[in-house]
Structure formats: structure tokens, C-alpha cells
Subunit: 754 residues, 2 copies
Amino acid sequence: MRLQTLKMTKIKVFSLCYSLVFFILITNAQEHPNLILTKKGVENIKRQLGSVPLFDKTLAKVKNEIDQEIKSGIHVPIPKDMAGGYTHDRHKKNWYVLQKSGILYQLLEDDKYAMHVHSILKEYAKMYPKLPLHPEERSYARGKIFWQCLNDANWLVFASQAYDCIYNFLNNKERKFLEENLFIPYANFLSKENPQFFNRIHNHSTWGNVAVGMIGLTLNNEELINRALYGIKTKNLDHNLTDNDGGFIIQKGQKAGFLANLESPFSPDGYYTEGPYYQRYAMYPFMVFAQALQNKKPELKIFEYKDNVLIKSVTALLNLTDQNGDFFPINDAQKGMSYYSKELVSAVNIAYHFGGNTAELLDIAQKQGSVQLDETGLNVSLDIKQNKIKPFLKKSIELKDGSQGDKGGIGILRSEDKDHELVMKYTAQGLSHGHYDKLSFSYYNKGDEILQDYGLARFVNIEQKNGGGYLKENKSWAKQSIAHNTIIQDETSHFNGEYKTGSIHHSDKYLFDVTNSKLKIVSAKESNAYPNTKLHRTLVLFEDEEFEEPLLIDVMQFTSKNIHQYDLPLYYHGQIIDFNFENTTPPKLLPLGTKNGYQHLWLEGRANLKNKTAQVTWLNKNKFYTFSTLANEGDQCLFTRIGANDPKFNLRKDPGFVIRKSNVKSGYFISTIESHGSYSSVSETAKNAFSNILKIENIVVKDPNYMGWSITTKRGNVHTFILCISNNKKDVSHSINLNSSLINWLGPYYYIKN
Amino acid sequence: MRLQTLKMTKIKVFSLCYSLVFFILITNAQEHPNLILTKKGVENIKRQLGSVPLFDKTLAKVKNEIDQEIKSGIHVPIPKDMAGGYTHDRHKKNWYVLQKSGILYQLLEDDKYAMHVHSILKEYAKMYPKLPLHPEERSYARGKIFWQCLNDANWLVFASQAYDCIYNFLNNKERKFLEENLFIPYANFLSKENPQFFNRIHNHSTWGNVAVGMIGLTLNNEELINRALYGIKTKNLDHNLTDNDGGFIIQKGQKAGFLANLESPFSPDGYYTEGPYYQRYAMYPFMVFAQALQNKKPELKIFEYKDNVLIKSVTALLNLTDQNGDFFPINDAQKGMSYYSKELVSAVNIAYHFGGNTAELLDIAQKQGSVQLDETGLNVSLDIKQNKIKPFLKKSIELKDGSQGDKGGIGILRSEDKDHELVMKYTAQGLSHGHYDKLSFSYYNKGDEILQDYGLARFVNIEQKNGGGYLKENKSWAKQSIAHNTIIQDETSHFNGEYKTGSIHHSDKYLFDVTNSKLKIVSAKESNAYPNTKLHRTLVLFEDEEFEEPLLIDVMQFTSKNIHQYDLPLYYHGQIIDFNFENTTPPKLLPLGTKNGYQHLWLEGRANLKNKTAQVTWLNKNKFYTFSTLANEGDQCLFTRIGANDPKFNLRKDPGFVIRKSNVKSGYFISTIESHGSYSSVSETAKNAFSNILKIENIVVKDPNYMGWSITTKRGNVHTFILCISNNKKDVSHSINLNSSLINWLGPYYYIKN
């Protein structure tokens, strides 16, 4: 009897709970969509359709794509393949199909789109409870639909939006089926069952947090929302755990969740410590979840978090692109990724809408040629239509790294005409995707690389290349110091290539001064890359009527307690036209070294330099470039080509040359890179094909607080530079003896033309 | 007394002659300009100025250029430098300045332009009588203004036009000074004093003939005109004389002069035996002299000569370009030269005006964006303005080589959408600029090279590279057979690389059939490249719904009396993505061979192929390509890179692979090249990244008059091809047993899909 009562009570309670849940569901139902699209937003959009060209164009394209897709049927295969393979690509496609179909249902009010979403989700819900881990075992956090949780998280970020869009189209039973079989276990799998994935400071975790958060917001599930925002409590993670890239999973005192991921990797300038390629990747979950939070939890004021860091980060990211809109390939980064990517379309739209309608963003949106199909995209389209656009002028800009902006940074110098762009890296390690390239730089002319950074060694989503994943050459080559335009001591990478060591250090800015439009300067120091060694690089983008185009001056100072060998490689593109020294080419090619990336370089030529200015001229895309460097007796120029020990042809066979100084304690590399002239293969005329520089000389200043150099042109003019290397204050005055006359100046550097 | 009388008579006669000359001069004076510009033409142009956009735009640009130039003064330095050097470039610039200033004087009636021409010519006239040969001694025909007569001839072709324009501006004394000191001795130098330059069948001589002819026409000097048209009588030339490229100066029974140069190197189809790059170069003198002859000697009917060969040659040349308008680099040819060159602007205008106003030429003229500043350019501009343009649709076309069209040819296959273009070469040697590449081909996709021809080894007019002249690697690499996509026996070039032998042979067309738009075929035989060896290559551009893009089928048959090694190299661009065999990469790179071009190839990998279909996939410019070949046990794939034994970095370090068959008497290379899919580095998606071909098989036909092959796709369809190799007649019927059933067909090939 008692048992019976209890049973009855249980049933009553259950029934009450069920009614309550039903009530809540009904209430929520009335509010959907309310995640990215909102009821009010949808009404607003529908009123404007047909009169907002960019929005209309995007919608028509998406409609066409999804109409084709619906005709092709439902495809939810049992997960099997790596990236690039069928099941991977199909599930990836599905998440876009879900999201877009949901949007079309809302905007076009055609039930077929809702039905398509529902049909697909049902297939997933049928499959999911029985799914084991994905058969591919290589990930530190294996997924179920994909080989890694990361991709599973991607799926849920999009699928949540689709579910929100068709929520009201479904009945309670249908919703219950999807939530119990798919969404709730899916969210738990990504978080509770994979804390090593969910609880990190890393773009992976951002995706994980946002996946859980998006479905949490859709379901009004506060527990999931809190899990997303603040991470999960776990004490079981080993501090020595690493991910597939060698990055640590957890560090002492580390917070977790979306807010922590917003706090820690972003600097106050909006620079994301992994670099722009991964910032772009993380941008979508950051921005779209912020948008959802703003819609559903405006009291969080998420866009104002950390002094508007999300909005700032969009501007930072746009400034981290070359003239083509391609991101500078800092750290692991596939070249060609640009602000034309869908993540940036979304980010620019959201930043415009929620960040105060900055008219310059419309310039980028117009170039992108499509918008996000919600109120943010509507806003952008309307304002472009009303011609509120202002040109987005990229600036010479410094972006500090570190959550407090205290861990070095990126310095970008741009020429007055914006054609020449120099990017210097003096950041922290950049988490597990970081490269060992302190004080490296890359250099561009009209969006073409003059001196390149290699980027990553990976063919993202090309199945034949290791399933689209990182190649082993990423570690053996791309991350190594020799793969970058920076200094290498004793053929060993910075921090000996050790992530643990690299992660506790960062370079320090010395100068970033672009107030003189003709002499822009960035300068930074690195004291930890090698033991007992101090490195100080100064790069000057110099414009003078003597030079047809900007002159890049590169001064690398090294000071060590012991005798070492120093290499300074430069990776150019194109064809060598001339050099002013004797070069010996070997009858057979050998690798330049055996480890630390040196094993991947063929040595194509070796020259012993004399005590004078050595020059190399090359031609690339019909432009001439000349590198000049002050050589000392015993210095060498090594002509190299990437590609040794590369049995699968995973590396690009790009050329370079290395200036080598052997058996030195301290010294300088003082070099210049001229862009000059042009060649036309139609008129067959070469203009200004020769360097304008006669010689580079070191100016010996007795006071060790200073260093100096001069550049003498063929016209006979002498450009003299003196740099104070111990005090970077702008308001400090200096006075030294130069050529037996006293010179005085204010601030860290002195320049004169004679 | 008698003496006195004689003297008086002489004076009288002289006086009479002088008066006569003066009278003639006066008469002529009234007729100038009458060379390229004509009095009537100038009047006509002046009436239209301001209402012919393309003409007006060109004129404004030229005026701006010359106005700047006049401000900079007169520069006629003592000749000294090689191509690319100051004096060379300045004298070259002067010839354009002269010509353009002359035109501006006529069209704008501003005396400053005439004065500028006169001032420059006076400087030349002062300098010329004392000028020794140019100090650079390397040419077989040294010039005075330039290092070779060729450039001196260029100068006179343009300067004659300038002189014609200002003829009436000058007084008799001024004219006499120029003619006696400059023009007459200049013309004599180029002809009488350099018969080895003037009397050849070669583009050099064409320039020489036209130079003498143009000044002859300007001066109404019949003797010079005849010299230009028919060459000079000389018996002193040694038949073993060669030019700098190793070409013979004179051959038995050889005619000379402009008409002989029009007769011999042009085929009835308008193909010029040296190839399109040099055809383009010779086109200007050919066309502009023809225009001058038409103006002054219309009775010659020069444009109708040899069945309108000059007009045909312009159409031929336009068909010899890829989608970007770049000439296919057949024989010595610098890549990037295109129909945007000034020579082609001129040729298209003249062909339009004198060749019956073919509306398709206006399409090219419009793309060129400028016109020749005379009546031909006016005609083009007016008709473009009146929108008479028809699209110039490039066709699949065969261009026969040989003055009678009987020495092989060039076969161009174009896909239905015109994106894929295949160029097969089965011509004669092509004079001294010919390469040893019988039956070679190159292959394009939307103007990008899929499989490249190397072109020449030279940086035209880049002074640092051997004064802009041919590099020694042109002979040691670019001309050799291994530098081309063709077959090589025993690592020896065709004809053993001997010009004398190569010059007496040519390949023979077997088939050129483009009537089936889905199966276009070109096939040719070569019996002289190697002793006792017959080569027969068949290329098929095949379109079928199974293949996303056209499939190229390449069947190379070789039949020899003895055992040999055969190599078939293919030079691709881009990055290897995958191959389906074991490859060994060496720890050090060695050259593939020691001579005949092999010494310039590094061997990057070597694979022993098994008895099956070997495949290599690569990615270039975001497109995938797969090469498949039927391999036999013992065949090898050698991965190569150009650049060994290249101490001055004169060669492009381009990749290739060689399929090698060793110790065989006879056999086939049966291969396909698929273009498929795409990669986007913005969306990071790879579409259709895999080959669609499962296997290639040889079909053994018992009758030696046939050969066959089949291509099985991954879908399981079999494409079967049978080729009759002994009878190319279209109307012959064939009947063979295939898989124990009898098949019958008409014409040289059979195709079926199962």
C-alpha cells in the first residue's frame, strides 16, 4: 500500500514535472527563434526583402544551394572517414545544410525547409545513441560524428541554430525525441565526457563551450549555459597531458569556459595569441555565441566584456591581412585564408551591428559580397545600400599580445601608399600552434610575398595528405626557427624547440614608432630564445626620393657570452638575377644539416663573402628586389631550397638564402631589401633593374648604448642612422661624437642624409 | 679647251642632274607623307579626331609620352652597351621617339615635333660617318648603333617613317645632309656591307630588307627598293657560315630579299616556321612594309601575295595564343609575349584594313586597347565605335609548316568550352631558333599551363643575364629533347641535337580530326629523330559525362630495330598530392645524366613501377590533375627538378617526372591526364580530389595495322579506342576481331563506351 502510494506519488510528481516541462516548452516555443534569428528580427527582415541587394543576393544563393540539396535527399552516413573523406565531408556539409535550411524556413515560410531540417536531425537522433567513438584513433579527444570532438562541436554550433529555427514547427514529442537522443547526450559528450577537450584555453575549447552554450540557450537549459560560460569542475586532468600538437591541456590556476577563453587568449588590443589563422577559426563561435547571449541574456553585456574586446578583435583581425585580404600566416596558418571566409563575413556583420555601426566595416562587407542572413546582415546590407561606407584604411599598427597586453606583440609597418607591408613577430608562444620564430618577419608588395613565412605544413581537408591533418613536416620543418626569416644560433631552434620552455617566455617590444611617415620603425628584444644570448632586431621601413619604392632596413644584433654560429635565412620567391660574389654550386645536393629543420634544406650554393656589401638581386612577378648586407670576412651566403628528406613531397620547394656568421660572440646583421623597377614580357623592357645601393657600413659608436649604420647610394648620398639600444624613451635627449663632431637629438634614434 | 668644254659640260650635266634631282625632290616633297601615313589619310584622321575613342586615347597617350620626352632633351650617346645597357636602351627608345614624334607632327601640326625629329636625326647624321663597328664583338653581324645589325635595322624601319613625316618640313640642304651622312650609308651598311645578315631566309634578314626598303620608299630610291625586295647579288658567302644561334646563313639555291622571306618561311596556312614568338617579332616589318608597298606600289598587290599569306598569318598567330593571349612557346620563345605586344596591335590593324575588314579582328583590337596611329588604326577605331565587333573564337586548328605546307605542322585541340588547349608540334626544325622536340606537346587550362614547354633560356633585355642575350643553358637545356614533353631514346636528343640533320627533316601529320566535338584527335609520325626508329604519337582530347573536365589521352608508340631506353618526361606545375607506388627519395641529389640536357635535372625520387596503372596527382592553382599511365614491370617513374649544373641560377627550378622504359625494342606509352576538382583555401574544401580512372589497359590487336587501349573508370565503365596506324583515310572501312566479336567501322579510329 505504501509502495502503491509512493508509486502514485511518483507518477503524480512525474506528471507535474512533465506538465511543467511542457509548460516551459510551450512558453519557449512562443519565443523561437531567439538564438541568432529573433522573432522581431525575422519580421523586420521579411519587410525589407527584395530591397536590400546584398542580403537578397546572399539569400537567393543560399536558397538555390539548399533547393538543390533537398532534391539530393538526406545523407547521414555512419561516421568512418578522416577529413577530406566522404563521411567527414558529408557531415560537415550537413551542418551548413541544417543551419541554412532553418534560416530559409524562417525567412521564406516554406515548410519544406523545416521538414528537411527535421528529417536530417531525426536521422542523427536515431544514430547517435548507438554511436561508438569515431574509428580513427589519432585525436587526443576523439569525436563520434567526426574523428575529433572539435568537429563534433562545430556541428552542434550550427545544428543548434537550425533547431531553434524549427522549434515551433515541431510538436512536443518530436522535440523530446531529438533532445533526449541527440542534443543533451551530444552536449554531455563534448563536455563532461571530454574534459580534456572542453576545459582548455584553446580554440578547441571555445568551439566546445559554444556548442554546449548554443544548445543550452536553445533549450533554455541553464545548467548547460553555465557549463558553457564557466567550464566544468574536474580535478582529474593530468598537468602533463598534451594535445596532438603538443599543447598542454591544463595549466596551474587555469580557468575554463567561454568567458575564460575570452579573457585569456585575447589581448586588450584584440590580438588572439594563437595568431590570425586560428583567431579567424575561433571568431565564428566567439561572435555568434556573443550574439546569442546578447539576444537572450543582454544583462551579461557580452560585447562590452573586457573593454569591448570582441569588437576590437575584429578590427585587429582585419588589420592582420595583406592587400588581398589574406591573413598574415603567423604560427600554424594555411596561406590563402582571408577575410573572405564565412567566419569573417559573420564577424564583420556582428561587429558592425553590435559594435556601433563603424562605417569602415561596410567597406569590407561590400568586398565580401555576402552577409549573414539575420538582423546583423540586414543592418549591413541596408547601410551599404544607403552608401554609408567609409574606406577601411589599414594602418601601421602594433597589436600587443598577452591577456594584459604585456607579452610582446605583432608590429605591422605599412608604406605610405600601403603597397609594402612588413609584419614583425615578437609575441608569446601562441599556444600549441605557435612557431619558434622570435623576431621573425615577413614582407609584402601589393599582396605578393617578397619574403615569406612558410606557414603550416598541412593541406587542410585534402584527404590524400594525411587525411587533411597536420603533416609530420609541420613539426620537423614549419615550426622550426630555420623555416622563418629570423636568427638561428648553432643550428638550434629557439628554446631548443621545446614548447614548455617557449610557453613561459615572450619577446619584448623596444620601439614601435610610425609618427615619421618616411621612417617607420619597429624594434624588439629577445633574451630567452638562447641561453646567455640577447637578440635585438630593428626593422625600418624607409621612404626617400632616392629610392623608387620603400627600402626595408633590417638590423639584427646578437650578444652572447660564448662563441657561436649565427644564421639569418631569408625566403624569397622567383628567380635569382644576379649576385656580386663568387658562388660555388655543388655537383650533388646535400641537406644543410641533420636536425631542427636543417635536414629539410638542400644546399644549392655556397659563397664565401668578402669584407664588403654583398648583394643578391632576384625577379619575382616582374618586379626586381635586391638584398644587400654588410658582410665580414668569413661570412657565407648559402643558397638553399626547401625539400630535402621529404619523401611524400609534402613541402613546397621554395628557395632561400642564409647569411652565416661563424665563430662570433657578438655582432650585427645589417641588411636592406630594395624593391625596384619592373620587367614586361610583352614589351620586353627592364626598368630600373639594378640596386641603388653602393654600400652599407657599420658606424662604430664608442658608447655601447648606441649602434649605427650608414647606407651609401650610387648617387653618392649617405643615409646615417644611430639607434640608442638601451633607452627607448621618446623624451630623452642624446648626445654622441660622430666623425669627431658632436650630434644631439631627442628620442631613441637619429637619422641624417648627407 | 676640250677639257674646259668637258668640264663645263660636266658642270652643266651636274647642274642639270642636280636640278632634276631637285625637281624630283620637290615633286616627292609634295607627296609626303606617303609611306605609312599618307596625305589623304592624315586629312581623313584629322577630320575624325575627337570622335574616335580608341584612336583618341592612343594619340593622347603618345602625345603625353613624347611631350615628356621632348622636355628631357636629345640623347644620342656613342654606342657602347649590350642589350639592357644604357646606350642600347637609349637608341632603342630613340627609334620610337622618332616615329611617334613624326606622327604627332602630321596629326597635330605642331612644329615642335618635327623639330624634335630633325634634331635627333641630325645628331645621328653627325655621328654616323665616323662610327666604327659596335665595340661588342659577339654577333655574326655586328652593327654600329647596336651590337648587332638586327637592332640597327630596327632603328631604320622606324626612323624612315619619321623622316617621311617631316620630309616636307625640311629644306633641301637639310635633307641632303641627313641622306648623305646617315640614311644612304646606313642602308648600304645593312645590305652590301653585311650580306651574311641581309641575304638570309630569317627574321633578321626580314628586318634588314625592310629597313632598306622603307628608306628606299621614302627616298623614292628604286635601287634600294629592289635591293630590299630581291636581296643582293653575292657569291662570297660560305655555305658553312652560321649565325650566333648555329643557324646557317645561306643554303643552296636560296633566294633572298623581302619576297623570298615572304615566300619561304610562311606556310600556305600563314604559319611561320620559326614559331609564333619570332613570327610576332617579324610581323611588324612584314606588315608595315607591306602597308608601305601597298601605299606606294599598289601594283605589287603585296597583300594578295601567295594567296593572301600575310593576312592569313595574322589569324594564324592569333590562334597560336592561349586564353590569356600569350603565344604558345614553340621553339625559342620567351613566355608572356602575347597579342598585347605592339607588333600585334600593328598587325591586327593592318590586317583589318587591308584584309577585308574581318569583324573578329576588332575583338582582339578592342582587347589590345590601342591602335596604330594611321588610317588602319582609324579604320579599326571607327568600326569598334560603330560596334561592328564579332567575337574572335579560337578554334581547334591545324597550321601546316613548310612553304608548300608539306612539312608537318602544329595541331591545336581546344575543348568545347575552350578552357583546355592542347598544342602538338610536328613541324620542321624552325630554322636556327628551333628546338629538338618532335611530337612534343603542351597543355593549358584557362590559360594556365598544366604541362609546360620550357620556352627559351634567356631574359630578354635584362642586362645582368648575359646582356639580355641567349644564355648557354638555351643550348645545353632548353633546346634539348629532355626539356620537352616528348620521347627520348637513350638519353640522346632528336637528331643527336644536330641542326644540320634536324634541318633536313620534318615530322608528318597522320591525323587531325576535330569533327567529333567530344573526341578530337591529332596524331603524327616521326621517322628521322633516331636511326632505325619510328615514333608515332596520338593525342586525344576526350569529353564524356564521366569526366568533369576534358580527358587528355596520350599514346606514344615507338618501334625500333634495336633495344633502347625510352624516357617520356612531363613538366607539371604545383605540388604533388599523391602517387600510387613506392617512391625512394635519395639522401643526396644527383643529376639525372651528364649530357643532352640530362645534366640539368636533379633526380628527386625514383620508383619502380609494377605491372599496372601508375598514377600521380598534383595540385596547381587550386585545381587537381592526375596523370595515369599503363606501366609494365621494370618501368620507372623518376621525379625530377630542373636546376642542376646551373651555377648562375639561369634556369627555373620547375618540377617534372619521367616515365622510363628500359631495354625495349618497341612499345607504347599510354597515358591520360585528368583535370579534376578544385581546392579553396578560403573555405578549405577539396572537391573531386581523386582521379576517376581505375585502370588503363592495352588492347592487343593481332593485326599489326592496329593498336588499341581501354580506360576503365571507377564507376566501372570501359572506354575502348582502336586506332589504325597504317591508313589515315577517312573513307576506308575497317574490320577486326575484338574480344572474339567482329567490329566494323569507317575511318582511322574506333571508339565505344561499355
